[in-house]
């Protein structure tokens, strides 16, 4: 019983949320950087991520493809982003892996065939992490791409979910992740509901997966609503300011 109770009988998680509630989602579309062609800032609870998009621009010689555009992604985890201050190298396994995940996810989102011989670069900075920084990074990229005016098929929304004490919980914070249970990362297209990113390391039964998956999809839908409002607001503001 000394084990922490992740969902109390009153139905609250350790941070006061209910199992199906996501953390406060705040975002800013554009205006983060003047240099970049597109930028966005995303906050999911205490997890904060910045994304910059450069391009489309002429591709580097070596990377240039004639059939479609080239997408690159680089992720950096700020040394002060975690509880332990630690400087990570550029080739840190965790960040390289995340960069790869993001690149692959957006290769299916961006209409790259429109950008022949061109290159689009995405840079993600995780400023602070309290769990779920992968999802925050993907969401930030998505908004930055919209801000940059890159053609995308659909919005890609990502969220994490876990399964603790016999029920799914969404958008886990670090304390919940530290419990060592299931962690599922899901990136779905908002309209088509197609899954673009799915990541999970734990062994679970199909039933548990099904439950977690459904909870995660629902959370993505909630996130999308918030993102959609933000994008619309930004667009309206831009229209009015002209």
């Amino acid at each position: 019983m000394s084990k922490t109770e992740f969902v109390s009988p009153e139905g609250f998680r350790i941070d006061g949320r209910r199992p199906s509630e996501i953390r406060t989602f705040r975002c800013q579309v554009g205006g983060v950087s003047q240099n970049a062609d597109g930028s966005a800032y995303v906050e999911m609870g205490c997890t904060k991520a910045l994304a910059y998009v450069y391009g489309p621009k002429e591709a580097r010689r070596g990377a240039m493809k004639t059939q479609c555009g080239v997408l690159t992604c680089e992720v950096s985890l700020a040394p002060f982003s975690t509880a332990d201050r630690r400087k990570r190298s550029r080739y840190d396994r965790q960040t390289v892996e995340l960069a790869l995940t993001i690149r692959q996810a957006f290769e299916s989102s961006i209409l790259l065939e429109l950008y022949q011989r061109a290159q689009i670069d995405m840079f993600v900075h995780i400023l602070e992490t309290d769990g779920g920084h992968k999802a925050a990074a993907i969401n930030a990229c998505n908004l930055a791409l919209i801000d940059a005016g890159i053609n995308i098929r659909d919005s890609l929304v990502a969220c994490s979910a876990g399964y603790i004490d016999g029920r799914p919980i969404v958008d886990m914070n670090q304390a919940e992740i530290n419990a060592g249970g299931v962690e599922l990362l899901l990136g779905v297209f908002a309209r088509t509901r197609k899954v673009s990113v799915i990541e999970m390391d734990s062994k679970i039964t199909p039933e548990v997966f099904q439950e977690t998956y459904e909870a995660c999809i629902a959370a993505c839908r909630d996130l999308y609503t918030a993102m959609e409002t933000a994008v619309n607001d930004t667009a309206l503001r831009l229209v009015h300011s002209k």
């Binding site: 009988p9 009153e10 609250f12 509880a83 309290d130």
Partner: protein, 1027 residues
Amino acid sequence: MDVDTEDKRIDTFLRKTRRGKIRKIVREIYLRDDIWCGVFGCPVCDATHNTGVLTFSEDESLLLLDTNVVLHQIDFLMEDACIDNVVILSTVRHRNLQTYARLRSLCKADQQDRYRESVQKIKDRKRDRGHDADAMQVDTKDDSRRFYVFCNEFFSATNVSRKADETVNDRNDRAIRVAAHWYARHPASVQELLGHDASTASKRVLLLTNDARNKARAAAEGLATMTIYEYVDMLKHKFPNAGEKLAQLSREDAEDELRDEDELDEAGVAPSRLETPKEPSKGFFPPHMKESQIRDKIRLKELYQGVLRMNRTTCFEGYVACKGVEGDVRIHGRQDLNRAVDGDVVAVQLIAADDTGEDDKFLDDTQEDEAAEADRMEVEPAAGGQAAALGAERKTGRVVGVIKRGWREYCGSLRPLDDFRKVGSSAMVTTERYFIPADPRIPYIIIKTRHSHQLDNKRIVVAIDSWDRFSRYPRGHWVSILGDTGDKATESAVILKEHGVITRDFSEAVLKCLPPADFQITEEEIARRLDLRNILVCSIDPPGCKDIDDALSVEHLPNGNYRIGVHIADVTHYVKPDTAIDKEAAERCTTVYLVEKRTDMLPGLLTTDLCSLVGGRQRLAFSVLWEMTPKAEVKKTEFHKSVIKSSAALAYAEAQAIIDDPNDKSQLAINLRILLDLARQIRGRRMAKGALELASPEVKFELDSETADPTDVAMYQLRETNKLVEEFMLFANSTVATFILEKFPLYSVLRRHPPPKEDALKALKKLLASNGFTEFKYGSSKELAESLDRAVKGDDAYFNKLVRILTTRCMNQAVYFCTSEVDRQEFFHYGLAADLYTHFTSPIRRYADVLVHRLLAAGLNIEGLPDQLSHKDRISDQCDVINVKHRNAQWAGRASVDLHTYIYFKKKGPSTADSVVVRVRRNGVQVSIPRFGIEGVVLLKEADYTFDEDKQTLSHKSSATTISVFDHLLVSIRADDTDFRNRTVIEMVRKSSPSEILSYEAAEASRQQVEKEMFGNAQGMAEKPAV
């Protein structure tokens, strides 16, 4: 300091990691509005969300509890009727989750519904409460007290952030006060709505706190507040029994409290006689070191940390196995133990050893009374355990601090009052009483009670609350009454409770997992399984056995071979992983057999009905099938989930009679004879490999130490059919072990038996040599087995038995383990001379078998590997739990046998009998009494005898008598209940004359007779041999 926005609060705090690094933890807390007050009929909250259970009325306060009250007075809160209409704040949870969970268990899920139904009833009851005040114990099952958890921490209206100069505790106190204010105001608005006077509303919210500062602040802020003592006092007229279970806080704790003990005395409570007031600076014990100091010193290796284990028979001496110190550290004497109790994690300082060879003593297990004790304080009752390895140097230490208390609840009785106090003490006056725990490792506990006379001669359960350095004994409060002292059922309940056996009824949730009582096996299920219903299957068990978990079959194959089947009840079909029933079984781990009582691991429907392979009914089974040649060589092995229909559930004697009857030519008889023949061959092979046979009718436990049943062991030896069943079960277990290990090299659960302790065997060899038997070899289990067979002394029928008993003593315990935890070389089972062994054949009564069933099913791809078996840590944790529970079950079984021995001698009166010396110590000898089949210690006056350590003899100083091992002594046996510890005391009369030594047969006959008397109506022990 915390940062706030309107919808969330950020808590930041620093935390030291295990490595000593300081980390800053940031935690966000979401604040919400959808939290309700829980007051029944509240037009704001209850109207929208039906959460109301509490009452807000003129004549009843709404209670809010401070953290310290919850923390220290949990037993009181759990059961005392005066605690009603309570708001449990979620702030309280910060301090101790376990206590919080216990408290919250009071808010039952269906409480609301029940409350609504019985609003009227409760009102009536409250009016009548004065009448049924004599009901001592609140029946928790019919507990209609009202509790509500208010998540104030997540509620925006009661949110409190820590200020820059505020400690965490101060913040929590403030949070509690803020919540109290909210309640005071919230119903006020309600009252206004209802048209009542709002000004009195705040008075009806009462904050109970024992913290003086918090109380003062609350009062200053205009909150109604009381200490728990004041509250109990106030309600004395309504609840005369209230406060019975209030924890007795130590003086050190009490400094924070509003009143200390002395003030309580003034309030009309009997003055404390037991605790004579002392100078505050000069306590009875030296103070404990501060926590931080201990931690630093442990790092510097000035102190050592370990769990204190008391000697089995005393609370004055214990051992601590410390990290970083070789061997155990001995701690003896009250002063050096410094208030540490068995099971505590303590910090130990090593002190100069004064080892005087006290290890060779038996302990007198009576706790001396005060006067005698005072005399002996200087000369501590130093005495040693039997664990000492011969010749090893023992370190001595002193406890300087307790890192973690290992207190549990203890069973025992109150020490009778002295005569003069008996006169003075009338009912309803608080008296301090000594509580004598049944476990001699625990010191007396002082409790305060107003029902002293009602607790006399009862077995009660007591919890320790505190032990300050001014008190010679710890203080506690009683928790429950088990029954009358000396009553057989009560004493058995004590045995179970003391051994940590779970005796609660199966919960609703568990029973919901059961199939319906009229459960029928479906056709689809049969289609999935191997249908063996047309095969002749039978089971052989002790007479009257209800939980039959194994059955046997044999078929003739066309090629002249046999197909042998061992069919085990398919418990895992009904008990699915991680369901409530599985969790319950995983916690119980084993069925516990006492002499007259069985405590099941699984509910009765499974144990005695659906899983039990009774004759004539179709049952689901997990079968091991071998193709064997008539020479008992295995050609092929198969495992199947099957369905069988046992033709006959035989008792051992019946089976034997069928085999022995030459005229019986039935298929059953033929099959049994084949099985017997094969079993003999398998057994022969196993014996040739060196399996030990230590079990004999005199020994109360066999090698595997799995049954504590004397009657059963005796029968077990009598018939060949016992061996037949045992042999096939062993064989099935080994076969399964090999299979699962191959499939899951890292996740299997096996059972290993380490070789015996070398030192102990060496000592035994020396002893035997001095008795003229020099051929004792123990290099391998085979050599040992042969030596045991040869150890015969012409004139003494018991010699061989005793050698076997002594050898058994040298053996290690067999244990379950996860195969990723242990080196492959250590997997083997010494006693059975098996390379691999596990438990598969008794899933009804052992949880390890359930695990093995699941592994086997997964290995056969019948089912997936459940979560519980796919994490090494989880498996090995479960194995540890099983091992502990198993050992406890054995101890409980033995304690039960001892209890019945005691009862037998109490009825019979003192008797004399011939006994054989098994072991010699400085101050006594251990004897075995063949006539009664019991063993015990005979204490002798140390001053009268000289002890020869080499020869293991005691010689009387004035007369020429010498006592050595294997000598026969005439002893007297009587029952003794000093301190309510029911013991059988054995005293020496003189050495036996040859005529008094019973012949082996006579002793055997007498013993069987005695056993029949002792365990006459024993049903619980109708157990099968453990294989």
